[in-house]
Amino acid sequence: MVINRLMNKIEIENLSLQYADGAESLRGISMGIRQNAVTVLFGPAGGGKSTLLRCLNRLNDLTDIRTSSGRILIDGENILDPKTDVIALRRKVGMVFARPVPLPMSIRENITYGLELAGEKRRTKLNEAVERSLKLAAIWDEVKDRLNDPAVALSGGQQQRVCLARVLALQPEIILLDEPTSGLDPISTGKVEAALQELKKDYTVILVPHSVQQAARTADHAAFFLQGELIEYDNGKKMFTAPKEKKTEDYIMGRFG
């Protein structure tokens, strides 16, 4: 691939996976994912994008998997190794889901939840984390006066940014976003996308976008997935102006999907 191996935060090697219920699968995926960039995984539904995301934080452990093979190296360590500390992994690799799921507690508690599980008890540290992460997620000004209100009382767009802040509070290195704006209005979507551009300065961001347009807007690198296979992987600009593969071009042009 065009991408220099040394700069890669994540190295996926020949990853194959099949769910027990026969849904979405992955076939022989190999790709490197760069640090401090937004990598977009796009393609039609059922192509394996979410499955791949869920491999990266081992959330697939909760699902019935029939077969899986290959390796995923994060900072050189194979996280699919059964000996991997998955709790530590999930703190390092945060995830934002398609629909905002605020936990049934206050805004503040949503943010501190992960930290407290990690053993952080100091009030000042927790307060700092709340402010820092809410600011990073561009939601601080909207919620700073009502941190003790239930998070579910916020609008969908606000909830999703709180969910992003909740992930950021753990100071992860990699952030996975699975169609994070699919239920949001254009203004909220814009805010989330803007936040991502800020975040990539410090984090490795992997996004499954909810449209080709969003993919084109946000991607530094883009990977096109079709039926469990990686069809094309290139830098974002090239991908959305001059794709090499016919299938990619057809999809981007809206000829199927």
């Binding site: 959330l59 709790i87 703190r91 936990l103 049934p104 507690m105 939840y113 992960g114 239930p150």
Partner: protein, 287 residues
């Protein structure tokens, strides 16, 4: 012609609604009737002496304190055994158990447990707790017997309450670095607690009102004093009611209805508490 048909259809609909409403009202009548009837017949027996005194004159006079205290003991005793076990079983079934032969067997057992007649529990308790384990006719044996009877109610309502907690909460919690048990403890149980409590109270309420399971395992015909340890037999409201209604000749009728009223109030109070917990939790729920 069309008009006539339409009007006809309309009146059929009205008739249907009336019938359904009538049936709904009919289901309310027995409960209201029972309560009013017992209140009317037994209300006059209720006095401080009736509630706080011992029976005398062959139970034809005096109070029913030992029976009230006994039922309280049995309810608490039942709770001690059935609540932790029932909730633990529900957590296992809802959160951990995969769909295997073993879990299917467990579920089948629970369903069947709920269908066993209460007198059979009584006999089982007599065989196992009273005779084999030599607990004697005692509060302990009766509580254990009632616990077995209550378990299926607690397990199935608690399991349902746990299952109703949205799956995404678990996924999100895990993705934030929680272990499975932390997720259950901090999110799932917390959210399911009102539902679990409701089930617990309804189960215990049933235990408090049962006669057959304690008949051979812990209930005493008459005791001149309160039980002093879990190994003593005890009087209990439902059994006392049975005794004074059938076994004691020339029993004043107010005492019978008064006892029934006290039992009814005891059970209905638990019911009301369960309802309050449920509706409060529903108002506060964030999903």
């Amino acid at each position: 012609m069309m008009k006539l048909l339409a009007r006809n259809r309309h009146s059929v609909q009205r008739l249907g609604y009336s019938l359904i409403t009538l049936m709904a009202v009919v289901t309310v009548l027995p409960i209201v009737g029972t309560v009013l009837f017992i209140l009317f017949k037994g209300g006059s027996a209720i006095s401080w002496e009736f509630i706080s005194g011992f029976p005398h004159d062959g139970m034809r006079a005096g109070g029913i304190l030992p029976a009230i205290i006994g039922t309280l003991y049995l309810t608490v005793g039942t709770a001690i055994f059935s609540v932790p076990l029932g909730i633990a079983a529900a957590i296992y079934l809802s959160e951990y158990a995969k769909d295997t032969q073993l879990t299917r067997l467990i579920r089948l057992a629970i369903i069947n447990l709920a269908g066993i007649p209460s007198v059979v529990y009584g006999l089982f308790g007599l065989g196992l707790f009273v005779l084999f384990l030599q607990f004697g006719t005692s509060i302990l044996a009766a509580s254990l017997t009632l616990s077995i009877m209550t378990l299926p109610v607690i397990i199935s309502t608690a399991e349902e309450a746990l299952r109703s907690v949205p799956q995404q909460f678990r996924t999100v919690s895990i993705s934030l670095g929680a272990t499975r048990w932390q997720t259950i403890r901090k999110i799932v149980i917390k959210e399911a607690l009102p539902g679990i409590l409701t089930g617990v109270i309804l189960g215990l309420e049933r235990a408090a009102g049962e006669t057959a399971p304690i008949l051979f395992t812990g209930a005493a015909f008459f005791l001149p004093r309160l039980p002093g340890s879990p190994f003593d037999a005890t009087m209990a409201l439902p059994y006392h009611l049975f005794v004074i209604s059938t076994q004691v000749p020339e029993m004043p009728i107010q005492i019978q209805y008064g006892t029934a009223l006290v039992l009814l109030v005891f059970v209905l109070t638990m019911n009301v508490i369960a309802t309050i917990i449920r509706s409060r939790a529903r108002a506060k729920r964030q999903w």
